[in-house]
């Protein structure tokens, strides 16, 4: 508040100086004059236009608007000359005028604790930040907004996960901040990106950011109840800002859905910034009921002239170029409320071009206008003062030479708070065109373009060097003389009253002055122009949007079928063993019948003669299909995060896994900390959404980790506890003790809900299972003892490369082992890893699985299973269970999948060969009775991808030839995660 007052004091020179300010000028500013605009076609709000209307403006506001308005006698009148008027635009998501805050100095040592006292424990939660404190009017940026038609922007400091509040500023270049600052508090902002002002490690992942936002809000509620013993200025500010409009920057469509889910959990309906690709999941976006603030930075075409570079560009990126401009139309068609932001554009003046592109896809003018004016006004709750042109609202409007979104239309003026900003002088007459004149016996052709800025002069088709300037009413032309290259003719002229020509005086090179007149020609180029015009009017179809919208996605969402596999060799994984010449009927997603000569009925019959039918492969340890970080490495315990928050249903590795026969997988948190995050256990239903992939009534799992990774063995300066295996034990002891104390505090008045503790309690109460990354025998033994002391058991040791040394103990404890078939030698703790590990553990009665931890290996886990036959002589039938039934058991999904048994889910793979053979390939993979991979369909995909790529390449070449801007071919790389991947 103090700063605001200070600002007010500093701006005495203001146009609208306050009455109570001392005035040391000789004449008072005449700000209170009434202005009237007449003869304008005024669009008061989208879809409502008044022809030949009058607007009366006083003190920056509209006093009257419409037809038959009484014009005050003391008014200054401006004739709009039949031009058009619209409300100025509102930018809801700017960082206009925000000073860059002090960046945290880079450091080689990780920072785990907060850097501030008196605030929240996490430096990236900064709700106490106030835009006003960072505000400094940026004239250049304001001019840009103003020129682009903006009258008002809501701005805030784009820094932090909780960013604090924003402010509302007009783009009034004539006034001062005393006029411009409409609200010093407007909106409360969040994002998923960390603050630049702190190096605090947590969160290191997207799931961490989501968990942090949840816990912050739980804590804020608790704090509001007066339970805290100390001050927390962050939580106080967060609570104070609760009634402001809550806005969060999400990013893409997946994050949009994620933050909406977050909002549901914490009882907030956010306005969500993002969703430039919302069209790809439009129904889901619609179902959120969230209002959006959508960027319009549609991708530029890729420059694919060089075929050798073309391979950089994935089909999904090519489609993105083609389809993204259709996003706004999609949103409008679904009735989704959205405002447009220029955030993400290089400059606000690109806005119109982008919107015209969007209109080619079917966006209507009034929809675009609403998204720039009325919708942002309503969303920001400032529709009582802005957004439409009505009596009592701010006189914020633009004047244009034609209908707003027409290509030929010029933006002439932007009036902000009644102050006129001329963008293009509408009184300056248009001199562009072709002229002919005769001078000194020569016939000249003049061609003026670009609003009097460009000129070509020709004599008998010979081009002469020339220059033009058009200043005020005067046209000044200098042209080389035809004969004498270094002599010039100078013309000084004006446009004729009838605009049929220009006339004036010519100063010839020989010193003579003669009067001249150049006649305007009928525009010969008009035909061409029209053609161009037509082209931008051509409507564009978005083309195929597939499930998911990448290569190998299906046009129709794959559905359940009734299928009869006829005459297969069936690996049941049940007491029946391997059945030859057997039929399996799949119905309603289940295995409905196994037998001989089953009746097909209406089933699709697949001849499986000579082929093998198995239950689908289950990968106990996978890190595919995860967005933005597999490790929340910011703390040594992160039980509050969950992979379920960040499942990426568009990862092509899902499809590749299906092609390798995988039907279920546990997507695990990484191994950066002893207590990691919760898992997502999914069925690989390619084309379906994340929550449709996650098992219904899913078993609950969490990742633990031991050894080199958690003790940061490869860090130069590790500062996080623990740094030795000894410390690892104590981390568990500490957290489990705290969880118990937490449980005991439930009845306390000051009880504070804590997602991390809740999760740990689930473990102690055996409701959540542990899958623990582990290598050497000492630590394996240790964790079993810790669990036993705390009354639960470790469900699965994963990796478990020295499991063979303690297999008897594991069997006794009841832990399973999910290991690599033959990996070793990659780190010190795998020195004693042996490929016989699986066989030895199996011999001692441990439930053994082979897992991947690797997007490549997971698609040939059948080969890995076969290694159990080679190393240790496990029988083929048992070896096969290592990648099917056993991991299903370890994941507690063996009642649904993992074997071929009537009533179980139809998660099946048809192999061309014995599944353990090196030459085996899946021909058909189904999940829940839905075929997700089929070799024949895959062949069709390949053809259609090739065709579509070629078509889009052609279109991009056309775009480039038309002179549109292009970008270099780029390849977006999804990070392939393993346990140890720390970064996003």
């Amino acid at each position: 508040m103090n700063k605001f007052l200070l600002l007010l004091l500093l701006v005495c020179g203001s146009l609208y100086a306050q009455d109570y300010f001392p005035n040391n000028d000789d004449i008072s500013a005449v700000s209170d004059v009434t202005r009237v605009i007449t003869n304008a076609h005024v669009t008061t709000k989208p879809g409502v236009q008044i022809k030949n209307a009058t607007i009366v403006i006083k003190d920056g506001k509209i006093q009257a608007i419409g037809k038959n308005i009484d014009i005050p006698s003391d008014a200054v009148i401006e004739d709009a000359q039949g031009n058009y008027i619209y409300a100025s635009f509102i930018e809801p998501y700017a960082d206009f005028g925000m000073r860059e805050p002090k960046k945290a100095p880079s450091s080689r040592t990780s920072q785990y604790d907060e850097g501030r006292k008196g605030f929240y424990w996490n430096d990236h939660i900064r709700p106490e930040q106030r835009a006003m404190d960072f505000y400094e009017f940026d004239k250049k940026a304001a001019e840009k907004f103003n020129k682009a038609g903006y009258g008002t922007v809501q701005t805030h400091l784009h820094d932090g996960i909780a960013r604090g509040n924003g402010m509302l500023v007009t783009m009034n270049l004539e006034g001062s901040d005393a006029d411009r600052i409409l609200q010093q508090v407007s909106g409360n902002f969040y994002s998923l990106s960390k603050s630049r002002q702190s190096n605090q490690a947590y969160p290191t992942s997207l799931m961490g950011a989501l968990a942090l936002l949840r816990q912050t809000h739980f804590d804020a509620d608790w704090y509001a109840g007066g339970h805290a013993k100390t001050k927390d200025l962050s939580l106080e500010a967060l609570n104070d800002n609760k009634d402001l409009v809550q806005i969060i920057e999400a990013g893409d469509k997946k994050n949009l859905l994620r933050v909406d889910k977050l909002g549901d959990r914490i009882g907030k309906q956010f306005i969500i910034v993002g969703g430039a690709d919302a069209y790809e999941m439009i129904d889901d976006v619609q179902a959120t009921n969230a209002a959006l603030i959508v960027p319009v930075n549609f991708p530029k075409a890729y420059d694919v002239e060089n075929p050798n570079l073309e391979w950089f560009v994935d089909l999904s990126d090519m489609r993105d170029w083609k389809q993204a401009p259709g996003n706004l139309m999609s949103l409008s068609n679904k009735g989704i409320t959205y405002a447009i932001t220029t955030n993400g554009l290089k400059s606000p003046d690109e806005l119109m071009e982008q919107l015209r592109r969007a209109m080619q896809y079917g966006l209507k003018e009034e929809q675009a206008l609403a998204a720039l004016t009325t919708t942002p006004a309503r969303l920001l709750k400032i529709d009582n003062q802005l957004g439409t042109l009505e009596k009592g609202k701010w006189a914020n409007f633009i004047m244009t030479s034609g209908q707003l979104f027409e290509k030929e239309t010029d933006l002439l003026e932007n009036w902000v708070q009644g102050a006129k900003h001329v963008i293009k002088d509408r009184n300056k007459r248009d001199i562009d065109g072709s002229y002919t004149m005769t001078l000194d016996g020569n016939d000249y052709d003049l061609d003026i373009k670009g609003n009097g800025k460009k000129l070509t002069v020709k004599v008998d088709s010979t081009k002469l060097k020339s220059k033009i300037s058009y200043d005020g009413d005067w046209i000044n032309i200098v042209s080389a003389d035809r004969e004498e290259k270094n002599s010039f003719i100078r013309l000084l002229a004006q446009l004729d009253k009838d605009e049929q020509g220009i006339s004036g005086t010519a100063y010839l090179f020989n010193g003579n002055e003669v009067a001249f007149k150049a006649k305007r020609q009928e525009n010969k180029d008009k035909g061409e122009d029209d053609e161009e015009q037509d082209e931008s009017d051509v409507s564009i179809n978005m083309g195929r949007i597939t499930y998911p919208n990448v290569g190998f996605g299906s046009e129709e969402l794959p559905q359940q079928e009734t299928i009869l596999y006829r005459n297969a060799t069936v690996w049941t994984n049940e007491t029946e063993g391997i059945l030859k010449n057997t039929d399996v009927l799949v119905k309603n997603g289940k295995i409905s019948n196994i037998g001989n000569d089953l009746k097909a009925g209406n089933a699709r019959v697949i001849d499986a003669t000579g082929k093998h039918l198995t239950s689908g492969i289950v990968d106990e340890h996978s890190h595919i299909a995860i967005d933005n970080g597999v490790n929340e490495a910011g703390h040594n315990s992160t039980a509050e995060v969950t992979i379920e928050d960040v499942v990426d249903h568009e990862d092509i590795n899902l499809y590749r896994n299906l092609a390798g026969g995988v039907t279920s997988a546990q997507l695990l948190h990484g191994s950066a900390n002893p207590i990691g995050g919760r898992s997502a256990i999914i069925k690989l239903k390619w084309g379906y959404k994340d929550d449709e992939m996650i098992y219904d009534d899913t078993p609950k799992f969490i990742k633990f980790a031991l050894g080199e990774n958690v003790k940061q063995s490869r860090y130069q300066n590790g500062v996080r506890f623990p740094q030795s295996r000894m410390g690892v034990e104590q981390v568990f002891e500490d957290y489990f003790s705290r969880a118990r104390a937490y449980a005991d505090s439930r009845e306390d008045a000051d009880f504070r809900y804590d997602e991390e503790m809740e999760t740990l309690l689930e473990i102690l109460e055996s409701e959540r299972f542990v899958s623990c990354h582990s290598y050497v025998q000492s630590e394996i033994n240790m964790l079993m003892k810790v669990a036993e002391r705390h009354g639960f058991r470790i469900n699965t040791f994963t990796h478990i490369l020295e499991g063979y040394k303690v297999a008897d103990k594991m069997a006794e404890h009841g832990a399973g082992g999910s290991t690599f078939s033959d990996w070793w030698a990659y780190k010190y703790e795998v020195n004693d890893a042996i490929p016989y590990n699986g066989a030895i553990m199996h011999s001692q009665g441990v439930t053994v699985a082979f897992n991947s931890d690797d997007a490549e290996m997971s698609r040939r886990l059948n080969q890995e299973a076969a290694k159990a036959v080679k190393y240790g002589g496990v029988s083929e039938e048992e070896a096969w269970k290592f990648v099917t039934l056993n991991p299903a058991k370890l994941l507690h999904i063996d009642d649904r999948t993992g074997s071929i048994k009537e009533g179980k889910d139809a998660d099946l793979v048809l192999w061309n060969d014995h599944p353990l053979s090196v030459t085996a390939r899946p021909e058909i993979t189904m999940v829940d009775g839905i075929v997700f991979f089929d070799m024949e369909r895959d062949a069709r995909f390949r053809e259609s991808i090739k065709k579509e790529r070629q078509q889009l390449i052609n279109e991009m070449l056309v775009a480039k030839n038309k002179g549109l801007k292009t970008q270099e071919p780029k390849k977006k790389e999804k990070t392939l995660y393993e346990c140890e991947t720390i970064h996003w």
Partner: protein, 446 residues
């Protein structure tokens, strides 16, 4: 939420001790003792012999004498007396020793332990660097190759524009001198990448065309030109180890391995080869080479096809591209061997037979797939006079497997020979297996 950080300092002395301890533990038990030179004679009877050149003899007789295959024949048509020890391999299979190309065996013991890592030297142009002298013949990783039939390897340095010289070794030796089959067989050039990764390690950006590509190619060109000039000059000049090391390459006596991916880069390499008259080029990796297969075939440039067990390079590439890539080249007449450089490459080198098996699973004839890890690499390395196939007069470097050695289940070695030496199939890993099976009172299955 915030545990107190551990702030204690380990003093230097303790650190030193720690390192020493690590070493002692790592190398406490050395590898299996290398087999002595062959003294007796062996006759392998009744096995299916996989010659390595694409052919098989279903019922074979093989005689091993003085380290060589003194006879190999079809037992159904040729009658031969058993000489020396008779090995009845009825129902089993005999293969030439598998040759793993472009490996770093013996140069690194444990990836994450820097002290055990000797696979790359600093600097950009290192033609004088020789992998052989760093090759640890007693590496535990090396001994784990033999039970899978991988008996020979090309050991190549990594890094830089010119990494250095590779050598060919057999994998049952006392030391590198003992191990070497062909010393300094060729120089390895990492062709400049035509693309670059943007962003940082913690926030990776997209892959974009490299702006430095032309400049880097020019630098390499200049270096080679200078080396040529140096080596053809007759006047006395100051000794330059790097240029001197390239003399045999310039003279066409040794292979030049171009590690290169991408159609454009491969085409640039072909031009480079022409321009500099490189007489024995080999492409390594060579993703996308299928688009110019016929040209490679016409020029008789061999390819070490990049890792079979790999992911497709692009989102919308065929899911099985790396699996079928070697066949796509071979079908066009290119001479193809396999290699597996990349993440976790060393211990996976023992999976070479299964790489070939996977290629067979994607349409290649099983015997032709075998050739890609036996005779063809031997030819590329110039050691096919002695190695790479089961032929009379060649070195008896071979193994007997219970089943199809290119299949995980069939790859069960009962005997293996290098130069006729009856080598151990035990390793640190089999020892641990036996020790713990004994502990649990279980029967050992082999």
């Amino acid at each position: 939420m915030n545990a107190k950080p551990y702030t204690g300092n380990i003093n230097t002395m303790k650190k030193l001790l720690l390192i020493i301890c690590c070493w002692t533990v790592t190398f406490a038990s050395a590898q299996q003792t290398p087999a002595p030179e062959q003294s007796g004679t062996y006759t392998i009877m009744n096995a299916t012999a996989h010659i390595g050149n694409g052919e098989i003899i279903e019922n074979s007789v093989i005689v091993i004498e003085n380290g060589k295959i003194s006879a190999i024949a079809d037992a159904t048509t040729v009658r031969m007396d058993i000489r020396g020890e008779k090995i009845d391999a009825y129902g089993m299979h005999v293969y030439p020793g598998i040759i793993a190309m472009n490996t770093t065996l013996g140069l690194v013991e444990v990836d994450a332990v820097k002290a055990s890592d000797d696979e790359r030297e600093m600097g950009t142009y290192n033609p004088h660097i020789r992998s052989l002298i760093a090759y640890n013949a007693e590496s535990r990783v090396v001994e784990s190759m033999r039970p899978n039939g991988v008996l020979m390897a090309q050991v190549a340095p990594r890094g830089g524009r010119i990494s250095g010289m590779s050598s060919v070794v057999q994998l049952d030796a006392w030391n590198w001198e003992d191990a070497v089959i062909r010393e300094d067989d060729g120089v390895h050039i990492n062709w400049p990448s035509s693309f670059r990764r943007t962003g940082t390690w913690y926030n990776p950006g997209p892959i974009e065309p490299s702006k430095n590509y032309q400049k880097q190619v020019q630098e390499l060109t200049d270096f080679l030109r200078s080396a040529k000039a140096y080596n053809t000059s007759t006047s006395n000049q100051e000794l330059d180890l790097k240029f001197q090391a390239l003399a045999p390459v310039v003279k066409g006596e040794k292979n030049t391995y171009f590690h290169v991916n991408g159609e454009k880069s491969i085409r640039d390499v072909l031009n480079f080869i022409d321009e500099h008259g490189i007489s024995k080029p080999v492409l390594v990796g060579a993703r996308e080479a299928q688009h110019l297969g016929s040209e490679l075939a016409r020029r008789q440039i061999p390819v070490l096809a990049g890792r079979v067990h790999d992911l497709p390079a692009r989102e919308d590439e065929d899911y099985d591209m790396p699996y079928k890539f070697p066949k796509l080249l071979a079908d066009q007449g290119v001479m193809v061997a396999l290699e597996n450089a990349g993440d976790m490459e060393r211990h996976q080198t023992r999976n070479f037979p299964f790489y070939a098996g996977t290629v067979a699973g994607h349409g290649m004839d099983m015997e032709k797939a075998l050739m890609m890890i036996t005779l063809t690499p031997a030819k590329i390395l110039g050691i096919d006079k002695d190695y790479g196939s089961l032929e009379q007069g060649k070195s008896a470097t071979l193994f007997i497997s219970r089943g199809n050695a290119l299949d995980m289940r069939g790859n069960q070695l009962i005997r293996a020979f290098i130069d006729g030496r009856d080598i151990s199939l035990e390793s640190h890993q089999t020892e641990l297996y036996e020790r713990y099976m004994n502990k649990y009172g279980e029967e050992i299955k082999d």
